[in-house]
């Protein structure tokens, strides 16, 4: 790859990254404002700035569609900024349009990242935006008409004036500029038409305008000078000529005083001013964007350092030596590596807020489309998770929210009839509980119907035991099975062939678990538990014979020795149980689970570890505890994928200080229900 290519590519990357960030901000502002039923002045300014920046960078990157759409959004907000009171006129339609515009931008961004990019055509949205701009300015009645421009051929009355306007070369978007000019002229004219007519609807009109100039046919309400003033004050007009009477054209050619009015015109000036203000009051930007692969690499390196450090500390050559100064230095090193590791981890952490906002958008869109009323309440958006995990949960979450909107939340009438508040409520909340993130997604919709679920499972042949033996929880879990989808009809939003089984798979891929609670008629709650980070875990190393296992500290409740065998209860099926504080826990001998030949069989010799997994716990019996270590999780080699070790209680492996390997236990899959 040549240097030039690389430069352009990274420029594109930066463009996409920046634009996506700004679009997210735009969406947030819009949602917030729509809810508040008004836009604060500050937000208007922000939207204006965002669209202005997008316009600029898109034009630089040569994406005309994006640029011109951003331009027209910017125009609308430019007017609003001057006249905030006019907002009420167009409130609803503006929001829909800006959302449409934002969607268009997002689609373009996706396209740009894809294999082949074809520019989209935003002219429809632009036309509607222009129309709304007209409404705000009071030049058009706030009645929505599909074809806003006047008919092409109007009888021009005797005192009609023809004005030929030439725009500055290379100003771009001539058709839009022409249309804006028409809007400006409107109040001064009794009749108004133009050649080409309806320039805003047809971007090809630009070429004609550049070639022939833009011809305005009008009958001025006042003097022709008023019109001249308007034209002179508008942007990017290079020159104009007023041909007084259509029949006897009398040239009155005026060359605009300043040939390049770009800097001086009021729009840019105001813009510059607002930017300057923002600069002075804003905090200095100290954020930089970094390629994620670099972060991954850094993470790997830190992992290696942690391992290497343990190798030095636990080096067998040091055995039996008393090295005070060495120990001191090691302690210093350990402190630094710990800090380094914390920092690298924190770099990779992103707040869930961004993901939550996406959900907000889905709820808004779907409630409009489906005619349902719903609000999304988010809690704990500032909870941070590893970027990889964040990326992995966006899709499952979107799917669950869609499901809730589509299937769970009832129509407003139904809700009122059921005695529920008209507006449905979906709550998504996250909290950090030490090593794990707890996320719940709940709705107050119809809830899961166990009879329906069972019936459906029966017809799909998913039942493995008599129906009467299924507990409520087991029935709910049926929806997580592949090939289960309660809705027979495929709707626009959910039911695209992916079901909750995909959601579960995605969550499990990042080491998470999902559980369901539901009450018919009251709503459903999904609880998702995800590890904070994938890369490094605090673990307790335990040994069975010569095999070393690592048990994540977060899963351990306590460890203890058994005083005498009588504490063990033998179940009828031969399994062992132990009673701790009035609760009965099954005992799992690692030695037997993994058929390890060495290792003790005597319960009195080994040690019991009580672990927690998704509400139910059990005890693991092992030979000995080796100690607490930080270990770097490495996945098993791909070669071993066919053995599906992840579902057999092993989440990965880790290289220990002495170069040997420990197997990391996953308490959730270790014990089969």
């Amino acid at each position: 790859m040549s240097n030039d290519d690389f430069g352009m590519e990274s420029l594109l990357e930066v463009f996409i990254h920046e634009t996506e960030g700004m679009l997210e901000q735009l969406d947030n502002i819009l949602l917030e404002s729509e809810r508040a039923k008004s836009i604060t002045e500050e937000n208007i300014n922000t939207i204006f700035r965002i669209t202005h920046t997008i316009k600029g960078s898109a034009a630089m990157m040569n994406y005309g569609g994006i640029s011109s759409l951003a331009h027209s959004v910017e125009d609308v907000f430019y007017i609003l900024r001057e006249n905030p009171s006019k907002l009420a006129l167009v409130f609803n339609s503006i929001f829909d349009l800006v959302f449409q515009a934002s969607d268009f931008f997002k689609k373009e961004m996706e396209g740009l990242q894809g294999e082949s990019y074809a520019e989209g055509d935003p002219s429809e949205i632009i036309a509607q935006l222009e129309q709304q701009a007209g409404v705000i300015k009071g030049e058009r009645p706030p009645v929505v008409e599909s074809v806003p421009a006047p008919p092409q051929e109007k009888p021009v009355s005797p005192d009609a004036v023809r004005i030929r306007i030439v725009f500055e070369a290379d100003c771009g978007m001539e058709n839009i500029r022409a249309f804006m000019l028409l809007n400006l002229l409107q109040p001064y004219c009794e009749e108004l038409s133009s050649v080409p007519a309806n320039p805003e609807n047809d971007s090809s009109a630009s070429a004609a305008i550049i070639r022939d100039g833009f011809l305005v046919l009008c009958r001025p309400a006042g003097s022709v000078d008023d019109l001249a003033k308007v034209i002179e004050s508008s942007l990017n007009v290079k020159s104009y000529e007023i041909l007084e009477n259509a029949a006897a054209p009398e040239d009155k050619k005026t060359e605009k005083a300043s040939p390049a009015p770009g800097e001086a015109d009021e729009g840019t000036a105001a813009q510059a001013k607002s930017e300057a203000q923002n600069l002075s009051k804003g905090v200095k930007q100290s954020l930089i964007s970094v390629n994620q692969t670099k972060l991954d690499h850094l993470m790997d390196l830190v992992g290696e350092i942690v391992t290497a450090e343990s190798m030095v500390v636990g080096n067998p050559d040091l055995k039996g030596l008393h090295l005070d100064s060495f120990t001191k230095s090691i302690r210093e090193l350990r402190k630094l590596t710990d800090e380094l590791q914390d920092i690298v981890m924190s770099i990779r952490m992103v707040p869930l807020q961004g993901t939550f906002f996406k959900m907000d958008r889905i709820v808004r869109d779907m409630s409009k489309k489906l005619g349902k009323k719903a609000e999304l309440i988010t809690e704990g958006g500032d909870t941070e998770v590893d970027k990889t995990i964040n990326d992995a949960i966006v899709d499952p979450f979107m799917h669950m929210i869609r499901n809730s909107m589509d299937h769970a939340i009832e129509l407003p009438e139904e809700r009122l009839a059921l005695g529920k508040p008209e507006t449905g409520r979906i709550t998504i909340s996250a909290k950090n509980t030490g090593g794990e993130i707890f996320i719940t997604i709940s709705d107050d919709g119809s809830g899961l119907d166990t009879d329906k679920l069972l019936k459906k499972a029966r017809s799909s042949g998913l039942l493995t035991k008599p129906e009467s033996e299924y507990t409520e929880k087991e029935i709910f879990n049926l929806i997580l099975l592949p090939g289960f989808s309660t809705n027979t009809a495929v709707t626009e939003f959910s039911g695209r062939g992916v079901g909750m089984d995909v959601v579960r798979k995605n969550i499990e891929q990042v080491g998470g678990t999902i559980s369901i609670a539901s009450e018919k008629g009251k709503g459903t709650t999904f609880t998702i538990k995800i590890p904070l980070t994938l890369a490094i875990v605090d673990g307790m190393n335990i040994a069975v014979g010569s095999t070393v296992f690592t048990l994540p500290i977060t899963a351990i409740r306590q460890s203890f020795k058994i005083g005498d065998e009588s504490q063990i209860i033998h179940n009828t099926d031969g399994s062992e149980m132990i009673i701790l504080r009035g609760e009965c826990f099954p005992v799992l001998r690692l030695r037997d689970v993994y058929s390890i030949e060495s290792g003790t069989e005597n319960l009195l010799e080994g040690i019991m570890i009580q672990v927690d997994c998704g509400g139910s716990g059990y005890c693991i019996f092992t030979d000995e505890l080796i100690g607490e270590y930080q270990v770097v999780v490495k996945p098993f080699p791909i070669f071993l994928n066919r053995y599906d070790l992840k579902n057999k209680g092993l989440s990965g492996c880790s290289v220990l200080g002495d170069g040997s390997i420990s197997l990391i236990l996953d308490v959730n899959t270790l014990r089969k229900e």
Partner: protein, 162 residues
Amino acid sequence: MRKAGNNMTETATESVKYDGLQDRYLLFCIGDTNYGLPLAMALEILNIQPITRLPCVSPYIKGIVNLRGKVIPVLDVRAKLGMVERGYDDATCIIVIDLHDMHIGLIADRVSEVLTVPQENIIAPPKNSASYIDSVSDLDGKTVLNLDCEAFFRDDLDQNLS
């Protein structure tokens, strides 16, 4: 699952890349039999080292070892070929090979030498789909069975990629 034909082209490009490795084979022994492996596939040879055993895997997969921070699976060629296993000794080696960018360790009784086998000394074996042998070469009365790694790992890869 990649087809054998694909492998041929791959080996071809690889031999272009590793010019000089063409026609060169790494010879290892299982009992009294000599096996050959295209030298381009072999990454390195390790002395036998402690192997972390894995539960729930086929008996011929002996476990995983740490190769400078990289975790690689180790297979016993003897067991894979269905021969009687024997204890490991000082001569026992782990040959690390690269198969579709996966690093795999093969346990062999011993590694004997690297040989250049001229094309004319290579004889195609009788067609047998169950065989792991690609060809047989005959050198100064020494018979070498050239391992077809693609076939050798077919069982393992099949379910990997599905």
